[in-house]
C-alpha cells in the first residue's frame, strides 16, 4: 500500500501526499489552500505531481500541471484522470 495514506477519501489522500512531499503536517493543509499560500513553488509542484502520478498510477500531462495551483485543483485533476482511466479500461478487460 501507499507510503502516504490508507484513506479512501481522495481529498485526504492528496493532502497527505502534498504534506509528505513538503515535509509539513497535513493539518496545515486544507482543500481550500492555494499552493502560493503553502509556499509551494513550481519545482515543489513538479515533485507533488511526480508523487501523485506514482500514487495513483496516472499520467498527468503538462497542461494538467498548469491547472494544479491549489489543493482543490490537484484533487480535481487527479479525480478527472482516474475517471478517464476507468472509462478507458472497462472492468474485465485485459
Amino acid at each position: 500500500m501507499s507510503e502516504y495514506s490508507e484513506s479512501n477519501d481522495l481529498g485526504t489522500q492528496v493532502i497527505r501526499i502534498i504534506a509528505y512531499t513538503q515535509r509539513m503536517p497535513p493539518e496545515a493543509i486544507s482543500l481550500d489552500s492555494t499552493f502560493e499560500e503553502l509556499k509551494i513553488d513550481s519545482l515543489d509542484g513538479i515533485n507533488i505531481v511526480f508523487a501523485l502520478e506514482n500514487e495513483f498510477g496516472i499520467n498527468i500531462p503538462d497542461e494538467g500541471v498548469q491547472d494544479m495551483r491549489s489543493v482543490r485543483g490537484a484533487v480535481e485533476g487527479v479525480r478527472k484522470l482516474l475517471e478517464e482511466q476507468k472509462q478507458a479500461v472497462p472492468p474485465g478487460a485485459a
Binding site: 513553488d41 513550481s42 519545482l43 513538479i46 505531481v49 511526480f50 503538462d62 500541471v65
Partner: protein
C-alpha cells in the same frame, strides 16, 4: 595584460561534424532538432532532440581508443583537434608547459555510469566495467586532449550545469590575459542522450514536446542537444609573432550567482553577469551589437532574460540583435557556452547574425529584435554570449571582431 586572440575553432553537434558544416546551417537558419534515434520504452514525453546526427566515432578513433572514451569525451577531443589544426599551433618546447586545457561539462560520462548501474541493480551482477571511472570522470575529455597534444600546463574541468563551458572559457581567457599561460584549448562537451538522464529531464517537465522556439509566444520548453565546441585562445603577440590567422578576440568575462532559487530564474543574477562582463572588457553597453542569448525556449527563462538584457542595456536594447541558436542545435547543456561562443565569433567574422529558428509569434514579454527565422546581415563589431545554469550560476563572455 595581454590581448587574447582566438586562433582556432572546433565544432561538432547536431548541425554538423565541423565548423564549416555547422556554420552553413546556422547561416541558413536550419533547425536540426528531430526525432530521437531511441524514442524510449515506454516513449519519453518528448520525442525530439538534437543529436550529433552525423558523428561516427570510428571515423575519429580506433576501437581500442573507444574503450576508454565516452561519447562526451569523444566529442570534446574531435572539436579540440579541429580547433588546434586550424590554429596551426605545434606543441613543443616552452609552449607545452605554457598551454592550458580547460573544459566544461555538466554530467560527464553518463553512459558508463548507467551501464554500471544496469549491471549492478538490474542484472544483479556485482562486476562493473574496470574503465567505468576513467570513462565517467568529467575531466576525461580534458585529460585526453592534454595527452594527445602533449600539453603540460594547467588542465581541468569546470562543472556548472548549463554555464559550464562559459565558465571554462572565461577561466582560460583570464589565464591567457594575465600571462599565466600563452595559449589555452578551451570549451565544453556534453552527451545527454542516456536513458536515465533523459528520464530525469522528463520528470523536470522543462523539455518541449515538439521543438525549441525561443522567445516565441508558443514556446513550450527546451530541446536537449549534444555536442562540443572548442576554441584555441592565444596571447595576441604570440599569435602575431607566428603569423597566425586571428579569427576573433575574447575581451571580457563576467559571472554571478543568483542566490535566489535552485531552478527559477531571476533578473538580477543574469544582469550582473552581463554587467561584470562589460566591466571586465572595459566596454559600455552601447558598444555591443549582438547578444547570443541563453534563450532556452522555456517560458520562464526567455522572459526573464529579456528583462535582464533591458536592465543592462537600457535604450541600447532596442538596437540590439538578440538570437538563440539553441533553436537549431538544441540545448547542449555543458557544451552550450562553447558552441554558442563559436556561433557568436562566426557571426562577428561573417557579419551575419544567425537567427532564432522555429519562431512563430511575438511574445510581448520578449519584445526585442530576436532575429526570427532568417539570418540577418549586419555590421556587428562586438557581442556577448550568455549562459545561465540551474543553480542560479551565470556566465557571460564578451567577444569582438578583429
Amino acid at each position: 595584460m595581454n590581448r587574447v586572440a582566438v586562433t582556432g575553432l572546433g565544432l561538432v553537434c547536431a548541425l554538423g561534424r565541423n565548423v564549416t558544416e555547422c556554420w552553413e546551417r546556422l547561416a541558413a537558419g536550419e533547425s536540426r532538432i528531430g526525432p530521437l534515434s531511441d524514442p524510449g520504452s515506454p516513449p519519453y514525453k518528448f520525442q525530439n532532440g538534437a543529436e550529433a546526427w552525423d558523428f561516427q566515432p570510428l571515423d575519429y578513433f580506433s576501437e581500442k581508443d573507444l574503450l576508454m572514451l565516452e561519447r562526451f569525451a569523444q566529442l570534446a577531443v574531435v572539436a579540440a583537434r579541429e580547433a588546434i589544426a586550424q590554429s596551426g599551433l605545434v606543441f613543443r618546447g616552452e609552449l607545452c608547459d605554457r598551454c592550458a586545457v580547460v573544459t566544461g561539462t555538466s554530467v560527464g560520462g553518463q553512459f558508463s555510469e548507467e551501464e554500471g548501474y544496469r549491471r549492478l541493480y538490474k542484472e544483479n551482477n556485482p562486476r562493473v566495467g574496470p574503465f567505468t571511472i576513467p570513462r565517467t570522470m568529467s575531466n576525461a575529455g580534458a585529460s585526453r586532449i592534454s595527452l594527445e597534444f602533449g600539453t603540460h600546463g594547467p588542465a581541468y574541468t569546470v562543472s556548472t550545469a548549463c554555464a559550464s563551458s562559459n565558465h571554462a572559457i572565461g577561466q582560460a581567457f583570464w589565464m591567457v590575459r594575465s600571462g599565466q599561460v600563452r595559449a589555452a584549448i578551451t570549451g565544453g562537451s556534453e552527451a545527454v542522450f542516456a536513458e536515465g538522464l533523459l528520464r530525469a529531464w522528463e520528470a523536470m517537465r522543462v523539455v518541449s514536446p515538439d521543438t525549441c522556439r525561443p522567445f516565441s509566444a508558443d514556446r513550450r520548453g527546451l530541446s536537449l542537444g549534444e555536442g562540443a565546441g572548442m576554441v584555441v585562445l592565444e596571447d595576441w603577440e604570440h599569435a602575431k609573432a607566428r603569423s597566425a590567422k586571428i579569427l576573433g578576440e575574447v575581451v571580457g568575462f563576467g559571472m554571478s550567482s543568483d542566490a535566489h532559487h535552485i531552478t527559477q530564474p531571476c533578473i538580477e543574477g543574469p544582469a550582473k553577469a552581463m554587467h561584470w562582463a562589460l566591466c571586465d572588457a572595459k566596454m559600455t553597453a552601447d558598444e555591443i551589437d549582438y547578444v547570443n542569448a541563453h534563450g532556452t525556449g522555456t517560458p520562464a527563462n526567455d522572459a526573464t532574460e529579456v528583462q535582464a538584457i533591458r536592465a543592462v542595456f537600457g535604450h541600447r536594447a532596442e538596437q540590439l540583435l538578440v538570437s538563440s541558436t539553441k533553436s537549431m542545435h538544441g540545448h547542449t547543456l555543458g557544451a552550450a557556452g562553447a558552441i554558442e561562443a563559436i556561433a557568436t565569433l562566426l557571426a562577428l567574422k561573417n557579419n551575419l547574425v544567425p537567427p532564432t529558428a522555429n519562431f512563430t509569434s511575438t511574445d510581448p514579454a520578449c519584445n526585442l529584435d530576436v532575429v526570427p527565422n532568417r539570418a540577418r546581415s549586419a555590421s556587428i563589431g562586438a557581442a556577448i554570449s550568455n549562459t545561465f545554469a540551474f543553480g542560479g550560476l551565470n556566465a557571460t563572455l564578451v567577444l569582438k571582431k578583429v
